[in-house]
Symmetry: C2
């Protein structure tokens, strides 16, 4: 896209002949073709009909939504579909088939694969899609340790596979992984170097059942472009590439952010009304119960409020500010937990910090609130009650902001899961209780 403008590409794809497009195809990235298809949906059939099969396969792989992938595929006749599917990599095929909502569509795609691909895909589909097995590809190149660099290069030249990867793997007869060689070492070593000398036997591997979030953390830690996937016997099953890991990171982060806000992990900005309603309303109902709890606290103090009505306007400041402070603590903790930055060694230290920060901000905000409330009610005792309640609630907010995600994590529940609901329940109930409770104690001085 840097040398060919988007306008140029769009016009070539829409108005060009099949031959003109063929001539320029090496200069076009499939992600850019997908962009044009998405912007000019009415031209879908026209453009696709002029592209060769391997490019269509690439374009389908660029599309992230499996239902859209299927839609592109369906524009072709049955035989052509098989030819296109044949060009796709097996991890992408497995994702496509695994994620299609309609079982008939799934069977339809499977039926169009050749037998070898079908066996591969069916074995990949056995793995949970959110594990290493679910994101790996089984396409990798293994070489013999007793060759030289020259022999290996000659061997690689015979491999017509498009997808030579940046690492070669040494396996024994039982397919047990013995070592890894980087292409960097192949190209920078003299031709007569024995492969044995440049093999790294201490390979970092990923277990096939490892959760994809853990896989992403391992990639982040070691900075590899690719890691081999093995079973419990250390037999090599496939490889995971870093660009798939980036997609995982994005997906897991979105999930965390959604859960914290009380939504399903799957909702996206382009979800339908029905999907969004299903994602949000259940949590709103849970929220409603907690809101009723807070209201019940207020109801208990109705006689106090009846005597000093101005309490009713100030009380929402105490709970609202507590909610904000609690959300701050909670957000920091959830993110820290999800990045693996909280462990036994620093947990207590973080807890103490949250308490101190809660107390500090409680004092700052409490003093401002106290002065404001004193002025508002023209009564210093009113100010004292509001200020004290504010300090206590900020402290409670930060304690809850720490404890809720940490306890959820300890219970093996995703700490982001509706932590927000629990924390604001604490800050609302406690806020009303502190403020109206203190007001009741000091009642004679407030009237």
């Amino acid at each position: 896209m840097d040398k060919m403008t988007k306008e140029h590409l769009t016009s070539l794809l829409i108005n060009g002949t099949s031959e003109q497009i063929q001539e320029a195809i090496d200069d076009i990235h499939p992600a850019d073709i997908l962009d044009v298809l998405q912007d000019h949906h009415s031209q879908l059939n026209n453009i696709l009909s002029k592209l060769p099969n391997d490019i269509i396969a690439d374009v389908i792989e660029e599309e992230e939504d499996e239902d859209e992938q299927y839609e592109i595929l369906k524009t072709f006749l049955k035989d052509r579909q098989s030819a296109i599917l044949d060009e796709m990599s097996d991890d992408e095929l497995a994702d496509l088939i695994g994620e299609l909502d309609d079982p008939e569509e799934r069977a339809d795609v499977l039926s169009k694969l050749d037998i070898e691909d079908k066996t591969h895909i069916e074995s990949l589909l056995k793995y949970d899609p959110s594990t290493a097995g679910g994101i790996m590809t089984t396409e990798f190149i293994s070489v013999k340790a007793n060759n030289t660099v020259l022999k290996t290069l000659e061997y690689l030249q015979t491999q017509v596979e498009e997808d030579t990867t940046y690492y070669l793997y040494v396996l024994d007869k039982e397919k047990v992984l013995k070592g890894v060689i980087s292409l960097r070492d192949i190209v920078s070593s003299p031709f007569d170097t024995p492969i044995m000398d440049i093999v790294n036997p201490n390979v970092k591997t990923v277990d096939v059942n490892m959760d994809q979030e853990e896989v992403a953390k391992k990639f982040m830690k070691y900075g590899f472009y690719m890691m081999p996937v093995v079973d419990s016997e250390y037999r090599m099953l496939g490889v995971i590439e870093i660009d798939d890991v980036m997609d995982v990171m994005e997906e897991e982060t979105t999930e965390d952010i959604n859960l914290m806000a009380g939504m399903s992990g799957e909702e996206r900005v382009d979800s339908t009304v029905l999907e969004s309603a299903k994602s949000r309303i259940p949590w709103l109902i849970v929220n409603l119960f907690t809101a009723v709890m807070a209201a019940a606290v207020v109801a208990n103090f109705e006689s106090t409020i009846a005597k000093v009505v101005s309490l009713s306007s100030v009380m929402s400041i105490v709970t609202g500010m507590g909610g904000n402070a609690g959300t701050q603590s909670l957000t920091i903790l959830c993110r820290g937990l999800s990045l693996g930055e909280v462990d036994k060694d620093n947990a207590f230290q973080i807890f103490c910090k949250e308490i101190t920060v809660g107390l500090l901000s409680g004092i700052v905000i409490g003093i401002i609130v106290a002065i404001g409330a004193w002025w508002f009610a023209s009564n210093p005792w009113f100010g004292l009650v509001a200020g004290l309640a504010m300090i206590l609630n900020m402290l409670a907010a930060n304690i809850a902001g720490y404890l809720v995600p940490v306890i959820l994590k300890r219970l093996n529940i995703d700490p982001a899961l509706a932590s927000g609901v629990f924390v604001t329940t604490v800050t609302d109930c406690m806020g009303f209780f502190f403020f109206l409770g203190l007001a009741t104690l000091f009642l004679p001085l407030l009237i």
Copy 2:
């Protein structure tokens, strides 16, 4: 770490001799050494003293906190420090120097570099750290287009640089980037293939001033492991690797999450009390103003509350639920905006969806609240007022949850920046206004 357990490595590093460690060093990943150093801080000097310079450089590069990097470096005498710095890559050196808080420390490290490195680093330090120039490395290999594959391989064998990358670049005399060759193509092409035939002239590049968030999006879109950085004349200045991009993604996401919760983008779970207080208290004070606005709305209706005190307990349900619904919309919008999933074509559609979802959940929650409030006050009119206010506020919440981030984005302000504060201000003020306003209208029926 897969073949050598953590216990084994720890004991080797702490108790082994320099020679024993040297023998095993090829099997040890520097990230694992850093883990041991962090877990056994008292052994820092002991362990470091037994490691060779290049490994120490690698360990320093694995450490993400620049002040900790400096601490490791400082354990050595001056000459040894220079030797270690000499082994570090220039982008890591530039980060180390650029991020040190103390100017004296910065000058100290700079003074220990050799002249060539110093010139390099000083030119890198000129770039804004959050742009492509700030995250690139200037170490890359350029080759001639008129050689064959064999000649190129022989040339690469003479390059003793450790960091042969997976791509080679073809530049003209003015250093203008003409093409890129992947090592995959080098190793899979016959020896007599002219490099010209396997060069890809349509290189995707990154402008040196491009914001790092845009760089990350470009990597995500095209799935490359590495991209060249060029100036406005298309002269090649350096390369960016995907593992640096992963760090950028993590950092930018944390920043967004923090901003949404009303904190500075820099706060982390291990920040000090002072850093946290500085990050949070300013936003709490902003929040306080908005809480006072909501309280002022309530104060306007004090005469109504004085007549029907039970309004004071139900009103927080209306505002609280609105706040939750608004946060849901806001969260979905902010994430969508930051991933670039919202554009002109779908913006109106998303707006309509948010309104529909707001109305739908308003009706569901409104009916439950209406029935509950009717029962609570033993008055159907009380239920009607609560239910209607709930529906109106949920609608307002979803409209605000959409508009606030979209407007901030239009104003070129980060949409995450305190969107939460604005949205809850709307839901609090509107919630109180709808509920108490309706109650005032229906007052004769409520008493």
